[in-house]
């Protein structure tokens, strides 16, 4: 039987952040995830925004963690080499009714200790964001709202945790948790039983199911579907800030913002659904985005869309972000209600959860040899010409451009596959180096990526998957 000190269930943003924080201590940690890759579910399909927490409910744990997390990113992205930009958000009021809501929003931001929110006139807003609805009456500017590459953030947290000794068991499903004398005993997985002192439930959408294994499911997860459009980098109408709608009582509304890689992102919808696996986009949902976002940015050209996707936010009922430890079940930490702010607050959550365990008396000591930094994969397309030339001469596969839309070379794909916790699937490659993320959506590079994955992983092409088991890309040979 495997033995460890802590089992983290779930390799999404929060799970990986908790693992990385734990890896600063002399403690054995195993992260278990049912998916074939780190990155979770909710963590990889969201709006890729690092929030300030200006609109959180003041005084809640969620507010505290988001507000604490935002400033942490300057250091995190430097240490872990994560694409990130503080582009700021604007909240334009288009109608008088919306305009009247601005003071209350600003007041709430102050209650959340977000003091750098500023009021701008319609004219000022149009100056910094010319494609806004010209009717704009005025609005708020929130400078520290930022954009990030959410895939790289989670990979970077995981890779750094791995470099510091954390073990990852992917493609591994937790089937049960054993307790003994009011204490955690072990975690049963599809890859065997793991004896452990602590279990940290970071299973997000499935955290209620994990909680039920130890009889702590006093809540249920209600997935809230969010559909998005991604627009071409060349789309005619672009914005430079995160353009947020003034929320109504019913919904936070749909936003438009650039992604860290220069596409435009538009969405999301918010639909409560019972099915945790329903990640399908719908004609109605996508249409509703089109209608709403045109109020903010009238000339947005959704015909320039290069993809649409859907994410599920793991909302809970009753609502609210919870981190629970139990007197009658030592060693069990339950995280629930980690919803749309989950990506942002993950890094603060890591610290918070570890502190809870230390306070609980875990007695872990700090490592002296913690590796603080992680280097990402060199992006050929972003290098100056001389550096590109040098790279090709050092490693000729840099000269072989596989993805034409994003200019991704074969060398970058090899590094995505062969680095620790590397890509094992077509989507894994895509989320590490962006091959297939461009306007042709893998029409050109897809066939080559299948061939490269098969070659590098020493597999038959029929064993290459898009993501999890069962998502086989091809069915056989034309000629055997």
């Amino acid at each position: 039987m495997l033995k460890t000190n802590v089992v983290v269930i779930g390799a999404g943003a929060v799970g990986c952040a908790v693992a990385r924080e734990l890896s600063k201590y002399n403690v054995n940690v195993i992260v278990v995830d049912k998916n074939e890759d780190v990155g979770g579910d909710a963590s990889k399909s969201n709006s890729a925004i690092i929030h300030t927490g200006y609109d959180a409910t003041p005084g809640t744990l969620e507010s505290q963690l988001v507000v604490a997390a935002n400033p942490m990113y300057d250091e995190i992205v430097r240490d872990l080499d994560v694409p990130f930009k503080r582009i700021g958000a604007i909240l334009p009021a288009i109608t008088d009714e919306q305009f009247e809501k601005l003071p209350a929003i600003k007041e709430k931001a102050f209650k959340n200790h977000v003091y750098d929110v500023e009021f701008l006139t319609g004219e000022e807003l149009l100056k910094i964001e010319p494609n806004l609805n010209p009717e704009v009456k005025g609005g708020l500017y929130i400078p520290r709202e930022s954009i990030i590459d959410p895939f790289i953030l989670v990979q970077a947290l995981a890779e750094n945790a791995y470099a510091n000794g954390v073990e990852f068991m992917l493609n591994t499903r937790v089937t049960d948790i054993k307790t003994e004398n009011g204490k955690i005993k072990s975690v049963i997985t599809t890859a065997g039983e793991i004896e452990t002192d602590y279990v940290i439930n970071c299973a997000a959408l499935y955290c209620d199911e994990i909680a039920a294994m130890v009889g702590k499911a006093d809540y249920t997860v209600i997935p809230r579907k969010g559909q998005f459009y991604i627009l071409d980098k060349n789309t005619s109408c672009q914005v430079e800030h995160i353009v947020l709608p003034i929320p109504t009582k019913v919904t936070k509304g749909k936003l438009m913002c650039p992604t860290i890689h220069g596409n435009m992102l538009v969405g999301p919808t918010a639909e409560d659904l019972p099915d945790k696996t329903d990640k399908s986009t719908t004609a109605e949902g996508l249409e509703s985005i089109a209608i709403d976002v045109r109020n903010l940015v009238p000339n947005v050209n959704l015909r320039d869309t290069i993809t649409q996707y859907c994410g599920l936010r793991p909302n809970r009922n009753p609502e609210g972000l919870h981190v629970d430890l139990y007197d009658d079940l030592k060693g069990y930490v339950n995280l629930s209600g980690v919803r749309s702010t989950g990506l942002t607050l993950s890094v603060a959550m890591g610290k918070y959860v570890v502190q809870q365990i230390l306070t609980d008396g875990a007695g872990y000591t700090l490592k002296s040899n913690f590796i603080k930094t992680r280097k990402g994969i060199i992006k050929f397309s972003e290098q100056p010409r001389e550096v590109q030339d040098k790279l090709i001469k050092e490693k000729p596969l840099y000269g072989n451009v596989v993805c034409r839309c994003e200019t991704i070379t074969e060398q970058e794909i090899l590094e995505a596959i062969h680095r620790p916790l590397g890509a094992k699937s077509v989507d894994g490659v895509k989320r590490r180096v962006r091959a297939g993320m461009g306007r042709c959506q893998a029409g050109f590079c897809g066939p080559k990526v299948i061939e490269i994955l098969a070659r590098e992983l020493n597999k038959d092409a029929t064993e290459v998957t898009k993501h999890n088991a069962g998502s086989y890309m091809v069915t056989g040979k034309t000629r055997d």
């Binding site: 061939e451 034309t478 000629r479 055997d480």
Partner: protein
């Protein structure tokens, strides 16, 4: 027997109705021109097609040799010919229009390479 034939001679795509028995045409209706009449008659009696496909190359897993029938062959024989071609494999080098399968399925038609490969 009555057969509806869409003419492929020109972009107009006339719908031609041919009536006849045992390979004999009794009447043709709806053709736009003489070429259409000839096409429809031939299609009615014995439709033929060029077959193009691929042949396995010995020692190569990720590449195939494109081939074609050097003449149109009977449409009804397409799948028989495919079954034959699937059994074949070639050694390189191959020159364009080298015969890969002679007189395939007794049709009198050869399967030839459409590409030179070294």
């Amino acid at each position: 027997m009555v057969k509806e034939i869409i003419c492929t001679v020109c972009p107009r795509g006339c719908h031609i109705t041919v009536e006849g028995d045992n390979g004999k045409v009794n009447s043709v209706k709806g053709e736009g021109c003489k070429r259409g009449l000839d096409y429809a008659t031939a299609e009615f009696i014995a439709p033929v097609r060029i077959l193009t496909t691929l042949v396995k190359i010995n020692g190569k897993e990720n590449e195939l040799l494109p081939v074609r029938s050097n003449k149109p062959l009977l449409k009804e024989k397409l799948f028989d010919c495919m079954a034959e071609i699937k059994k074949v494999s070639v050694n390189l080098p191959v020159k364009m229009h080298d015969v890969i399968v002679k007189d395939i399925c007794g049709t009198g038609v050869d399967i030839v390479a459409t590409k030179s490969l070294n």
